[in-house]
């Protein structure tokens, strides 16, 4: 039987506040799952409950068919990488990595080979006699990873492990972590508030907000079919148009537009979300190409060059709209700041959410 980790209606109450409220989650053996959300959404509390640092107020945490709610961390054999790394500053790199092995009473002659093996994997063999303070942030991160992996944990928990690093190293290390996870086939729970990191590294992403799970899905699904307005807003960038839905048309402040899919809603107040890259610019020289309707005109107020794409901010009557277009197309169109441009919002690009 596969060693799955199941959170069954798990809650954590601090005083009178639910940090985590009845979440359900099943993680398969070998899976890489990321808990994503803003600070205070309950993702770290969830991780700490899995680690054994917090005891759930209600619900059960089941691992390998056993309820482990009240097991102390030492008895779980889960490896943890902390946001601050928590490397022991008075121990050398190899002593740090050997610590867990000693605590688990590994045979003396097996400790050093295991330490070397881990340091080899993370590429720090030549730094084994250094103290943590003598290493760069990225190296310290790798030591923390090696230390957590050394006692052969069955699950590894990573609490915002890259948040203290520079953007460049972050991208490099997250690829390394993913590769290592695939090689070892180890069940992994990863906590982050960085949606790009979550999408790029995970098998599945759990989007959390105010202690509840908003959506659990593969990264592509999270991005393409955000199940709530919250997810659409938090993951990636979205433009939102509010209005009254009636017969497949939304009557908004700016414009009345058609949507292809009303998400099961027949009528009432709704929000329609559209990604910036789905919006098209109607080039006057290419006029007639687009169907009538679903267009709106606004003034181009900001141009941000992002490399491959250019992000434009277009001011409509009551709101700004973000539009991403390829840099090449932007250059070809020869538009400049202050100009009025016409936007086309494809009906099938909208996702509609009801408003309570």
């Amino acid at each position: 039987m596969a060693k799955n980790l199941i959170l069954q209606d798990v809650s954590k109450k601090f005083d009178n506040l639910y940090a985590v409220n009845k979440i359900k989650l099943e993680i398969k053996e070998g899976e890489f799952v990321t808990l994503l959300g803003p600070s205070g959404c309950g993702k770290t509390t969830t991780l700490r409950m899995v680690a054994g640092f917090e005891i759930p107020s209600a619900g059960e945490i089941v691992y390998n068919g056993k309820v482990i709610n009240r097991l102390i961390p030492q008895q779980r054999n889960f490896g943890i990488v902390f946001q601050s790394y928590a490397l022991f500053p008075h121990m050398r790199v190899n002593e740090n990595v050997a610590f867990g092995l000693k605590m688990h009473r590994y045979p003396k002659d097996k400790i050093q080979p295991r330490v070397d093996e881990l340091l080899d994997i993370v590429g720090l063999k030549e730094h084994k006699h250094k103290y943590p303070a003598e290493l760069s942030g990225g190296m310290q991160q790798r030591v923390a990873l090696a230390r957590a992996l050394a006692p052969r944990p069955e699950v590894i928990l990573l609490d915002e492990p890259l948040s203290a690093l520079d953007a460049k190293i972050r991208v490099k290390l997250r690829a390394e972590i993913k590769q290592l996870q695939v090689d070892l086939g180890i069940t992994t729970i990863y906590v982050t508030h960085d949606q790009e990191e979550a999408l790029s590294i995970s098998d599945r992403v759990v989007v959390m907000n105010h202690g509840i799970i908003e959506q659990i899905d593969k990264p592509v699904a999270i991005y393409k079919n955000p199940r709530s307005r919250y997810v659409a807003d938090f993951v990636g960038t979205s433009n939102f148009f509010e209005g009254k839905l009636k017969q497949g048309k939304i009557d908004g402040h700016e414009l009345t537009f058609t949507v292809a899919n009303t998400n099961g809603i027949t009528e009432g107040n709704v929000t329609a979300a559209i990604r910036p890259e789905k919006i098209e610019i109607v080039n006057s020289r290419e006029a007639g190409k687009h169907k009538k309707g679903n267009t709106v005109t606004g003034k181009l107020i900001v141009i941000v060059f992002l490399g491959l794409i250019v992000r434009l901010v277009v001011r409509l009557k009551t709101q700004d709209v973000i539009v991403d277009i390829l840099e090449k197309r932007f250059t070809d169109m020869k538009i400049s700041r202050g100009e009025n441009i016409e936007l086309y919002l494809p009906p099938d690009a909208f996702i509609v959410y009801g408003i309570e």
Partner: protein, 570 residues
């Protein structure tokens, strides 16, 4: 998701309980230790001060009464000691704080040279018993003083309030200086720069910016000096000459006349101002710490010549006075008969006192014991309060902070009144034994040790504990392998602090020595009171030498083992 049917496994063995209860047990033991050796003796004094007493049989009668207090306030000679104490404490406070402030200002805000040396010289009063100042003043300004009788040949001498105040100023100087130094180096000196860039003169800046921003540090230092001066025993008993203060009055009533009723009553009277001063000190210290900015300190611009020379002259004058206090005593210990026969001798170093030279080794042994045990206990205490936070962390903290409010003399009196009991055979185990002295010194200095340990614990990453736990270490191993090594610096400084206090303290242990246990610092005071000024100077010199040598040894040990720490500076 369907409901899961899973085997509900309980923790293996009782490990989870063990770890939690281990903290309860250890924390509970520390709490019990403080309860028995701090709170009970003091409460007992309160009780006895309100118990009827038979002065002829020297016995408490067990009846509740306020007669002791009416008795106290009806004896003008004794009540006077309260006014004397307040007078001494207030003047010592004003003078010490002022002098120390300018000294600390010179060290932190001007570009005078030799700052490190000046700082260490300012600390020298800490390495000697708190009667050295009085001994030196008497040698120079007494009725037979080198300056008064020798050089100037005047009738005036320094005995009485003037002598006590000057002694207290010299004794309390380092305590106030440390606080003001910390405050002035922590307050952002760019405030001063901002003021001068807005056109304020140096003097205006000083009074409108520097002093107000350092005010909590100043108040905190003043309260501490007040507390030290009002509770000091060594200096007033030597230089007071009939000018009795509360602490000397307690001693005279108890030792001289066996009047435990008056002793406990005066002890309670002394507790009031000392507790108030302590609370003020505590309050202002907290306030002061909240004002400290963690920002990088800009380089000081070179001070103008007048300022520089002024502060150089001022600082070295103070330093010179502090050094000459020690110098006079060391010199005197080699002089055959002060003022009469100036020939060199080492005969004063052959002590004709009970225990002889061995009192020094007793003191050293006890001080080392106090140092290691006290430092370990305060680190452990700080760990439990700050990191483990059991449900009784708050009361334990409160218990740990109270000792600083209790004068050592009162605590010592409390000990002899409560531990001379047959109960649990305590009169045999504790009474008159080194153990009671060790416990007393640990308790009376418990506050500072615990507070410094707590602030050190605060700087240790919270995940450090959890990292060790997740890697399989239990609480004991986490403490021994992670927490304790990370607190080496704190342990060392607590050890040194405890060691020094134990070597030089008088008031805490004056009631606790016995025919079995003699201490060096008490030998100094007894020799001095007997008029054996040569031997007392010699004993004081030996104490100073031992403290300096041990400090050097600690520093070496610390350097060797502390090499790694340098790399850790995060």
């Amino acid at each position: 998701m369907s409901t899961i049917t899973a085997e509900n496994i309980q923790p293996k063995g009782k490990k989870i309980l063990n770890d939690k209860y281990l903290i309860y047990v250890v924390g509970g033991l520390i709490g019990l230790f403080l309860l028995v050796f701090m709170l009970l003796p003091v409460l007992n004094i309160l009780r006895l001060s309100m118990t009827a007493y038979d002065p002829r049989k020297h016995e408490f009668l067990g009846r509740l009464t306020l007669a002791n207090f009416t008795n106290y306030f009806s004896k003008p000679a004794i009540v006077q000691s309260l006014y004397h104490s307040l007078w001494i404490a207030v003047w010592s406070m004003v003078i010490t704080t002022t002098l120390a402030f300018f000294f600390a200002y010179g060290l932190t805000r001007t570009t005078i040279k030799w700052k490190k040396a000046l700082y260490y010289v300012a600390m020298t009063p800490l390495i000697a018993p708190s009667l050295l100042q009085a001994m030196a003043l008497i040698s120079l300004f007494g009725s037979n003083g080198l300056i008064t009788a020798g050089l100037l040949n005047v009738e005036w001498n320094i005995y009485g309030p003037t002598g006590i105040i000057i002694s207290e100023v010299l004794y309390c100087f380092p305590h106030a200086m440390v606080i003001l130094y910390t405050t002035l180096s922590a307050v952002d000196s760019r405030l001063d720069e901002a003021a001068s860039s807005l056109g304020a003169s140096e003097v205006t800046t000083f009074f409108k910016i520097t002093v107000p921003t350092a005010r909590y540090g100043i108040f905190s230092a003043a309260a501490l000096v007040f507390n030290l001066a009002i509770t000091d025993f060594g200096n007033p008993i030597i230089i007071g000459r009939g000018y009795n203060v509360l602490s000397t009055e307690i001693y005279l009533q108890v030792i001289g006349m066996q009047r435990f009723d008056l002793g406990t009553t005066i002890a309670v009277v002394l507790l009031v101002p000392s507790i108030i001063a302590f609370l003020l000190n505590y309050y202002f210290t907290k306030k002061s710490h909240s004002l400290i900015s963690g920002q990088a300190k800009p380089q000081l611009p070179p001070s103008r010549p007048l300022k520089k020379y002024g502060f150089t002259a001022y600082s070295w004058t103070i330093a010179g006075i502090l050094l000459s206090v020690i110098g006079v005593i060391v010199f005197k210990s080699f002089i055959k008969v002060w003022m009469y026969n100036w020939s060199f001798t080492t005969s004063h170093y052959q002590f004709k006192i009970p225990g002889g030279i061995s009192v020094l080794w007793t003191s050293l042994k006890i001080a080392l014991f106090v140092g290691f045990f006290g430092a370990f206990l305060t680190i452990l205490n700080g760990y439990i309060i700050e990191k483990k936070k059991p449900f009784f962390a708050q009361p334990l903290y409160l218990f740990s902070v109270i000792p600083a409010a209790i004068p050592g003399l009162v605590m010592g009196l409390g000990y002899i009144l409560i531990f001379n009991t047959r109960f649990l055979n305590l009169d045999n185990i504790l009474y008159g034994k080194p153990l009671i002295i060790i416990i007393n010194v640990i308790i009376t200095n418990f506050t500072l040790g615990t507070l410094s340990s707590i602030s050190n614990m605060k700087n240790i990453d919270k995940s450090m504990d959890e990292a060790a736990t997740s890697l399989g270490a239990n609480t004991t191993r986490t403490f021994l392998r992670i927490i304790f090594p990370l607190n080496r610096i704190s342990f060392m400084s607590n050890l040194i602090y405890y060691f020094m206090r134990s070597m030089v303290t008088i008031s805490a242990v004056i009631f606790l020595i016995s025919p079995d246990v003699h201490l060096a610092s008490i030998a100094v005071i007894n020799l001095e009171k007997d008029g054996q000024e040569g031997p007392s100077a010699a004993m004081a010199t030996l104490i100073i030498i031992i403290v300096i040598v041990m400090l050097a040894i600690f520093a070496l040990l610390f350097k060797k083992r502390g090499l790694k720490v340098v790399a850790e500076s995060e």
